[in-house]
């Protein structure tokens, strides 16, 4: 039909934007990953080197470490943020229903720049003058500065990150709770279920989709987290807080090995795609096996 022509006119501004911002950098990175592009290596001046970067990558133990660190960060973070977010949502749903303004207020930490939060985190954790740092140090709970300890740095980052993102999870869950139907609760009342049984049998199944959405977003974020870590520890001490994004950054913009860095990014991209695809499908299946009208 004639009208189909007009569609392209309407779509073009968005299409152009998409091309410029997403497609072009992606293709550039893809191209770089197959070339030797290093500002520190004089022999490298953009020549095509096939899969050399990728081969280097396979033997890079630090790269594998960054994956490990990412998961060590992601799993506790998700569990903690999910549980705390759920608790917050349960407590706040009633209040939010009466005062919607509470939602933007709850989201304030999420809206702040991660850099700022990271810096404040550093200050708070300082053993000499930081509130938390002093307390931990003086009470003898820890022997060294939190951010200087290979064992405590990552938990500290998780804590700071949770400060910023738990409200986000809570808000998504609250929004879900406000939309839940009344009847299953009444059925539970008539059947005589107590608060815990109602929570497990009615609230959780109904809230599940929202929880999945929130946590899926956090999973993807785990592979992107950068600002907070860079500001607080630069990936250290050693490489104990070096997640994949930090690692890739290091190679691309510290060592100026753009080729290698691009290869790293490509691999991360593929990994995330597969992970998210798998997680999403698994959760869909899980949900459709259980839930009902």
């Amino acid at each position: 039909m004639k009208s189909r022509k007009y569609i392209w006119w309407w779509v073009s501004p968005a299409a152009i934007l998409f091309l410029l911002i997403i497609l072009v950098p992606f293709i550039t990175a893809l191209t770089y990953s197959f070339r030797a592009y290093s500002f520190t290596d004089s022999t490298a001046h953009g020549q095509f080197i096939g899969v050399e970067n990728y081969r280097k990558l396979v033997f890079d133990s630090d790269f594998y470490n960054s994956f490990k660190v990412t998961f060590l960060y992601m799993i506790p973070a998700i569990v903690f943020q999910g549980a705390l977010g759920l608790g917050m949502a349960l407590l706040m749903a009633g209040a939010v229903r009466r005062a919607r303004i509470l939602i933007p207020i709850m989201l304030l930490p999420t809206l702040l720049t991660p850099v700022v939060i990271g810096l404040v985190g550093v200050l708070i954790l300082n053993p000499d003058f930081g509130i938390v740092g002093q307390f931990l140090f003086r009470s003898g709970l820890i022997k060294e500065a939190v951010l200087g300890s290979t064992k405590l740095a990552l938990p500290a980052i998780i804590a700071v990150d949770s400060y910023q993102w738990t409200p986000f999870v809570a808000v998504i869950l609250t929004a879900g709770m406000l939309g839940l139907p009344k009847e299953p609760y009444e059925a539970a009342q008539v059947d005589g279920a107590n608060k815990w049984q109602t929570f497990i049998r009615v609230t959780m199944p109904l809230l599940w989709p929202y929880l999945v959405v929130a946590l899926l977003i956090r999973v993807i974020d785990a592979f992107r987290i950068f600002d907070i870590i860079w500001v607080m520890t630069r990936g250290g001490p050693g490489i104990s807080t070096e997640t994949v994004a930090v690692y890739a950054y290091r190679h691309t913009f510290r060592f100026w090995d753009l080729g290698y860095g691009s290869a790293l990014i490509m691999v991360i991209f593929v990994f995330i795609s597969i992970l998210v695809e798998y997680l999403y499908k698994a959760l869909q299946r899980w949900q459709s096996n259980g839930s009902a009208a």
Binding site: G192, R201, A293
Partner: protein, 366 residues
């Protein structure tokens, strides 16, 4: 097997909005009792007060003469079937039905026996191991009913349980539910906005509108002798026709007069009018099946012009415009033919009802 009594029950929201106004009725043991009315009439609020899901603002609710106002739903020994089924997601049919028993700590063997009995009663035994998610609307409704009857409650409450099923299923469920209730013999309160459901299923119906009780009676009673104009117009399909008229005495007999018609009033109504003190403006109500098309005009007949014809297979609904402009529906045979704007002669037959203009009350009730 319990009697339900409501005495002067009121429900106000925020101390201002009157949802239920001074409602009193009694439900006999084992009765299938319908609460019928349009949306917003207060029937659901009434049901929820009986269930204990809403607080009673004023008045008393008694189960077998025991006051239940302050009892929680779980302590009233009632069970409820919801409009949207409200099943527990992630549990299968067996677990859904057994849930109320599990909550109360009933031993496993006992639960098994009761769940199987309920499933068998409803004919859903082969669904027991299925997850609730994949079931059709009708099946989910049956599971909801199963969950309700498994505890053998004193009173069974149903809140528009079949309104979300499609027409054929609804017709089927109407029959099934009646048969079910007869076998169970549990006192059942059934809320609906569909007068066909109430008329075909209930032993007695309470018709409500705007929070007030309009009439309580058997289907036959509310159909043949509607207490108010609202009941007359709400019950019956096609709906009752209404027209303003004056009741005047002429030569010792009463007649109903308007710009559109002049008809004689029955002896019974005439008797009621003898002592009537109010003014003589009334609303005449007559059902489409009580009007006949006659070939010739007589002194008794009314002329009207054909507005539109709606053939319906086994009968035809004729819409006519009376001289005064009122639109009346007349039920005629399936082979009736007429042209639009053609003139026809109508004969009004008993029963003809007259309702007071202000109160809407049927004369015979005064």
């Amino acid at each position: 097997m319990t009697t339900l009594k409501l005495e002067n029950v009121w429900k106000l929201y925020d101390d201002k909005v009157i949802a239920v106004e001074d409602v009193s009725f009694t439900c006999n043991d084992g009765e299938f009792f319908a609460l019928l009315g349009p949306s917003g009439c207060g029937k659901s609020s009434t049901l929820r007060m009986i269930a204990g899901l809403e607080k009673i603002t004023r008045g008393k609710i008694l189960f077998d003469d025991i006051l239940v106002n302050e009892l929680e739903p779980r302590d009233r020994n009632i069970a409820m079937v919801f409009e949207t089924y409200a099943l527990y997601p992630y549990l299968n049919v067996y677990e859904n039905i057994g849930f109320p028993l599990r909550i109360r700590g009933v031993p496993r063997k006992e639960i098994d026996k009761k769940v199987k009995w309920a499933a068998d009663f409803l004919g859903i035994t082969d669904l027991l191991s299925m997850k609730v998610r994949g079931l059709s609307g009708g099946q989910m409704q049956s599971v909801g009913i199963g969950r309700a009857i498994v505890r053998e409650p004193s009173i069974l409450l149903m809140d528009e349980p079949i309104s979300h099923l499609e027409a054929r299923q609804r017709a089927r469920m109407r029959e099934e539910l009646v048969v079910l209730q007869e076998r169970l013999t549990t006192t059942t309160i059934y809320v609906t906005h569909d007068q066909i459901e109430a008329m075909t299923m209930a032993n007695r119906i309470a018709v409500m509108n705007l929070g007030k009780l309009q009439q309580v009676g058997t289907p036959k009673e509310v159909y043949s002798v509607p207490r108010t104009e609202f009941v007359g117009g709400f019950i019956g399909e096609p709906p009752m026709n209404f027209a303003n008229c004056e009741l005047v005495r002429e030569n010792g007999k009463f007649q109903a007069l308007s710009d559109s018609f002049r008809i004689n009033v029955s002896e019974e109504i005439s008797a009621c009018l003898q002592d009537y003190k109010g003014d003589n403006q009334f609303r005449l109500g007559i059902r489409p099946e009580s009007i006949r098309v006659v070939p010739e005009a007589t002194s008794e007949s009314t002329t009207a012009s054909v507005y539109v014809l709606e053939p319906q297979g086994e009968r035809t609904i004729l819409s006519v415009k009376l001289t005064g402009g009122e639109l009346f529906l007349v039920e005629v045979g399936p082979d009736f033919h007429a042209e639009v704007d053609q003139s026809v002669n109508l004969e009004f037959r008993e029963p003809i009802h007259f309702f007071e203009k202000d109160s809407g009350l049927n004369l015979v009730y005064l």
